[in-house]
């Protein structure tokens, strides 16, 4: 397995979806290729960063802007007539 194939199988490997022989080839490649170890580590960091980057946002916007609430209520009133 070369670096290109390694990257191709990265998502399946991280998801635990690679068949055993492919997973073994994947792991052999990492043991020989330090750049690809870094790549795997930073790929995992990327997943953690993206998944948690929006958490604070949910509480930041918990309160509805008054003008948006008014616009929605007005649109609903207009739609009923």
């Amino acid at each position: 397995m070369n670096c290109r194939e390694y990257v191709e199988f990265l998502m399946a490997y991280v998801n635990g979806e690679l068949p055993a022989d492919r997973a073994a080839a994947f792991e052999r490649h990492i043991s020989d290729c330090p750049p690809c170890i870094h790549y795997l580590e930073t790929y995992r960091d990327t997943l953690e960063l993206e998944r948690r980057a929006y958490q604070e946002e949910e509480s930041l916007f918990a309160e509805a802007p008054e003008n948006l609430v008014k616009a929605i209520l007005a649109a609903r009133g207009a739609g009923k007539n």
Binding site: Y43, E50, A53, Y54, E56, E57, A62, L68, I72
Partner: protein
């Protein structure tokens, strides 16, 4: 399924019954409880603030029209979340006029032998350390915003909303295979964007 936060009581027979009865105050209560959070959701998909607000407004009107279809036992917040994502996606489709930037420039490059042509360097910290800094969380969101829209949408639905491949494929009218390929490329491209910011300087 995504789990919303805030006002996350079960849809509450009382509020639902009042909504179904067409009680004006119940509609306002629903809007006040959820519009802020849903605006945050719409902003993930739509860069224009006006478009994000329009999507939330359309979502509430659609929700009100579709109240009969609301399934008992479901959470109102989850149901509204899904309707908002749909409204945002529709808005995004109507806005997508220009061809998007190709994602290839953000994917890893290899030589003829399939060997990486760029040695990835370590990052200034691991994710759990980086996430403690607010400006970094903002930078991650800004990097996701830079992904080409057809890839960004798949990344948001799969990784942020937590929808599965088949749900995402159905919503975007894509094959499951295409969803997998786009998610894979979107994550690689995001890694490239984050690496540009987080890799340690060359010594």
């Amino acid at each position: 399924m995504p789990e919303g936060t805030g006002s996350d009581q079960p849809a509450g027979e009382s509020l639902l019954a009042r909504l179904l009865a067409g009680e004006e105050a119940a509609f306002e209560q629903m809007v006040r409880a959820h519009a802020g959070r849903l605006l945050g959701v719409a902003r993930r998909y739509l860069s224009s603030e006006d478009d994000a607000r329009d999507a939330v407004q359309e979502a509430f009107l659609a929700a009100f029209r579709g109240l009969d279809g609301f399934q008992e036992g479901a959470r109102l917040s989850t149901w509204l979340h899904r309707i908002t994502v749909n409204a945002a996606l529709m808005k995004l489709r109507s806005r997508r006029r220009r061809p998007e930037e190709p994602i290839e420039d953000l994917l890893p490059q290899f030589d003829d032998r399939g060997v990486s042509t760029r040695f990835p360097r370590q990052w200034i910290g691991h994710a759990h350390e980086l996430l403690e800094r607010r400006e970094i969380r903002e930078a991650v969101r800004a990097s996701i915003d830079r992904l080409p829209p057809s890839y960004r949408v798949v990344l948001l639905l799969r990784d942020i909303e937590g929808w599965d491949t088949h749900e995402t494929a159905g919503l975007l009218d894509l094959t499951p295979g295409t969803v997998k390929v786009r998610l894979h490329r979107a994550r690689l491209a995001l890694r490239t964007l984050l690496a540009a910011r987080f890799e340690v300087e060359k010594s």
